[in-house]
Symmetry: C2
Subunit: 199 residues, 2 copies
Amino acid sequence: MDEQVKVGPWRRKSRETVYDNPWISLEHHEVLAPTGNDGIYGVVRFKNRAIGVLPISEDGDVWLVGQHRYPLDRYSWELPEGGGPLTEEPLNAAKRELLEETGVRAEHWSELAVFDISNSVTDEVAVCYLAWGLTDGDTQQADPTEDLDVRKVKFKTLLEMVMNGDITDSLTIIMVLKAHALALRGDAPQPISQILAAE
Amino acid sequence: MDEQVKVGPWRRKSRETVYDNPWISLEHHEVLAPTGNDGIYGVVRFKNRAIGVLPISEDGDVWLVGQHRYPLDRYSWELPEGGGPLTEEPLNAAKRELLEETGVRAEHWSELAVFDISNSVTDEVAVCYLAWGLTDGDTQQADPTEDLDVRKVKFKTLLEMVMNGDITDSLTIIMVLKAHALALRGDAPQPISQILAAE
């Protein structure tokens, strides 16, 4: 049993780790809510940052990765994504994930978005990048549990897939819409700005 | 011990619920990955849909809700959000959350985005709405554990807060960027289209 610990206007009265695997742990907390009421909180802690990459070629191609998402029991097409340990520079993780999942290397990288994925229950943070100046190698170096499909589409097509709801992955939606908005206001990196404006 | 169950190209060999509270449960699964390798999967199941609302007035005001997010131990300004039981019509939950958190009622509602929040570990789905034709009541009917700040900002200001990274909540980012993109292409509801274009 811990002492009461301040968490902003909350107070944590106790904490117990009830589950732990290589990717997440789950803690059960007894708390005093900001209103003074007794309560509980199940907190899912992530051991990795979520990493996302929007790799875009001079021809306007982007690489999508398809896989069956086990928690949803549903197939999902997404931009290349993965996890990077909290102790690792996120850009390194992004380069590794892009190469592993698509065989692509990029000369230029620009941070696109940093955000909290599901803040009511988890502490999962995402760091996402634009990548351009691409070299498409032929070797996809997959994770031993991953079975990925890869396809190229035009950025304009991907934007339509986001707008019409065909793409349901939150990271992909944020990367595509933010890159598009940056380009429309002239704030995207110059070599890819016109493509991302998708007009 | 269950029989092996197909989950797309995965096989579930066993399943055990290791944690359960009113909002989530956590299941530990033994699996065969699509590659044939043995593995485990910790799956966080949500008992609610995440609900988000972008309430916009004729004057271009939107309502933001601020709170200390316990899992992150960080303060966050967001559009009105909450949870709605999976058995409840999400639009009802959206109307309730908007009223509870801000005291605002809306005459018109339009579905804005449906997406998967964190699909590597959870089955959490978000349903988000645009709301307009607003009546601003004076009674905020808070949840007994919630201590919320509420403030009005112009949509244009909120868009800047999203673009410069001041807003870090994934649902808010998606609602703002998608509403803006819809308006720029002339696909937002007519009465609020010019405001959401934010030009």
